[in-house]
């Protein structure tokens, strides 16, 4: 059986978790989505020795305890982690958040679309691009 693609979703909003899962539901068979609802636990998980490295990180910015900016900074400065694509998925459209993210090597910055059809389309696009195109090239 083919190994499942591992997506790490760091998101504190349960509604968004539900919506994201819904968006990926058509591909649920080949995806494994782990959810961590705060930055601190996310860092602990990413630092642990028996960690399973995700193929893609979907990262919210405004998180309890440790926020998404710090998580991004850690990931992109860790030699073992920095190749993992990080997609910032947030409600913030603040210029400074966008600039911070790209300055810290986020691979993509997405403002969560306000209505369901757009939201689903956007996440499908992310999945297609980062998991089908980019991951494929990495593996080869």
């Amino acid at each position: 059986m083919k190994k499942k693609i591992n997506i790490l979703l760091i998101e504190d909003n349960e509604g968004d978790v539900e919506l994201i899962k819904e968006a990926f539901s058509s591909d649920a068979a080949r995806l494994e989505i782990s959810v961590i609802d705060n930055g601190e636990d996310a860092l602990l998980s990413l630092k642990s020795k028996d960690r399973v490295l995700p193929d893609l990180i979907l990262l919210d910015i405004n998180l309890p305890k440790v926020d998404g900016r710090e998580v991004l900074h850690f990931v992109k400065n860790d030699d073992g982690l920095k190749k993992i694509p990080v997609v910032m998925l947030t409600t913030s459209s603040l210029q400074k958040d966008i600039e911070y993210s790209y300055n810290n090597y986020a691979n993509c910055y997405i403002v969560k679309p306000g209505n369901l059809p757009d939201f689903i389309r956007t996440l499908k696009s992310i999945e297609r691009f980062w998991l089908n195109c980019v991951t494929y090239l990495q593996n080869s």
Partner: protein, 671 residues
Amino acid sequence: MSGETLLDNPLSLKANYEALINGVDDLIWSVSNDFRLLTANNAFVEAVKIYTGITVKPGDNLIMRDIFPGDYLLSWEDAYHNAFKGGSFKKELYTPSISNRPESWTEINFNPIYKSGEIIAIACCSRDITEKKFKEELLIKSEARLAELQAVAKLGSWETDLLNYSVIWSAETFRIFELDRSRFKSSHPGFLEFVHPDDRAKVDKAFADSLGSTADNSIEHRIILSNGSIKWVDERWRISRNDQNKPVRAIGTCQDITERKNAEENLRASSVALQNTLNDLNKIMNSSLDAICVVDVNGYFKKVSAACEAVFGYKAEELIGRLIFDFVYPEDRHKTKMSAERVMTGDYTPNFTNRYVRKDGSLVYIEWSASWDANDKMRYGIARDVTYRKIAEAHLTELHESIRRQSEKLLQSNEELERFAYVASHDLQEPLRMVTSFLQLLKKKYDQQLDETAQKYINFAVDGANRMKTLILDLLEFSRISSLAVDHTVIDLTEVVKKTRMVLKSVIDESHAKINVSVLPKVCGNESQLLQLFQNLVSNAIKYRDLSIPEIEITYSETPQQWQFCVHDNGIGIDADYHDKIFIIFQRLHNKKDYSGTGIGLAICKKIVQLHGGNIWVESSKGKGSKFYFTISKFQTSAIDGSKLLCPGLAVDATKNHNEKEDQYIINRRQ
């Protein structure tokens, strides 16, 4: 006795002659033309014997060359020769010291003796005039000395005969009057002609008074010389009287005192000037609002001006002699001492300020301007009461501080407000997104189970959430305009309108709107804001149309201060009651079924125009189209000091001589 008898006797006649010529001290003799003695009296024989030791006899040659010097004999020979030529004369002859005899002067009469019309001999009579000669010589010498002394003293003398008022002046007097002897009338009236008319009465009175007085008299008066110049003279005289005590003569001196008078006058004038200056200085000193103080080397007040009472609260006499430090506010004494020492090194020390305790106990702030005079060892200080200024300064500082605090607060609350608006609109979107998304998810997943009413309700809910989202976005937009720090550059509005057409292309095409626009000027502003401004106004003009094809005209005019633009449409127009309301945020005039929108567009326009130093207003009436006017200032308000600056580049543009380089000029507008 009968004379005729006596004269008839030749012997007695001879004896008579001999007695006559021998009875006088004068030497009498006669000489022949070969200078031999004919006859002589005893005095002559005696005199010759005294000189020569010889008893001279008739027939002896009188030119005794071996006894008398040649020069002396020559003058005798000359005299005899002259007498033989027929002269009868007197001659004064000097006889040098010979044979231990003293030198002498003699006066000799030479008279020829005729016989048959021919001169046969010379009769001589000699008299000793030595004493007279010496006296004359002494007189001449003393007169010369007198004249010289008069000249040295510039002191002339004069004498007036009071019987006929004739006048005798000394040479020096003539010199003083700078007058030639020949031109003087030699009379008292002649003298009076030279007296200065203003002094004439005085001179006359003094002279008249002196006639009745025995004392010495004097007067100083002016004379006018023939060349018109004026001299001062000092006349002193006394009156001589005869036996009957009648005044007969006035004798006096006349001294030229012009120099002294001039010197006196100069001295007087300069002392008057000095006094005037001192008076002026005193007046100035005492009318100064600042107290002027003179303080000695030990710090004692020596002199103070009248203002000291107003400044220090003490009268001058209460300060003079007191130590200046006693009046200084104790806290300021040390720095006052330091400053005083610096003054006494000769440093000019302006604007030193310290505090004094006034007589009533109040404090006064004094600003000093002080200098040090090393010669008289005095400090000269001007003390200005700057208490009001200090108080005003303190108030001003306080005021500044409170303004600063207020503006800080304002800035803080502004920032908070902006952050609040921003965060609120973001955070508000989050739950809205949840509402919308889950309603949609509900609809998607449970489509079959929901009836038509449930579907409709979901639609309403989603629509409401969407509208709320739009409102929030608009609010966000609005708050972003005011919070954005923007650079102002020179913007070509013609280009802005071109871009507006592009952005609104679909709406324009769909409505077949016509936009007429002349060439618009370049202004100073923010491009994206100005684009939004035109976009909102043009899209409104198209949106609020009636059934006819929209026609929009954009025009402008200018004043030295600002540009004024007009966007004129042929749309539905606005009732006058709403002309102000339309610029208020979220104010809508129309049902959203007829005209969509949240009512943010014109509020944003107003904000943009205000950020460009202008105003926006509308002229319209229902059904007659609208004219939206707005202005853009040609000046920028400096963020640093609030002054108005002409936008760079526009000054050149205003004279229709535009330089492209000016466009590069960017004004950084801080907020």
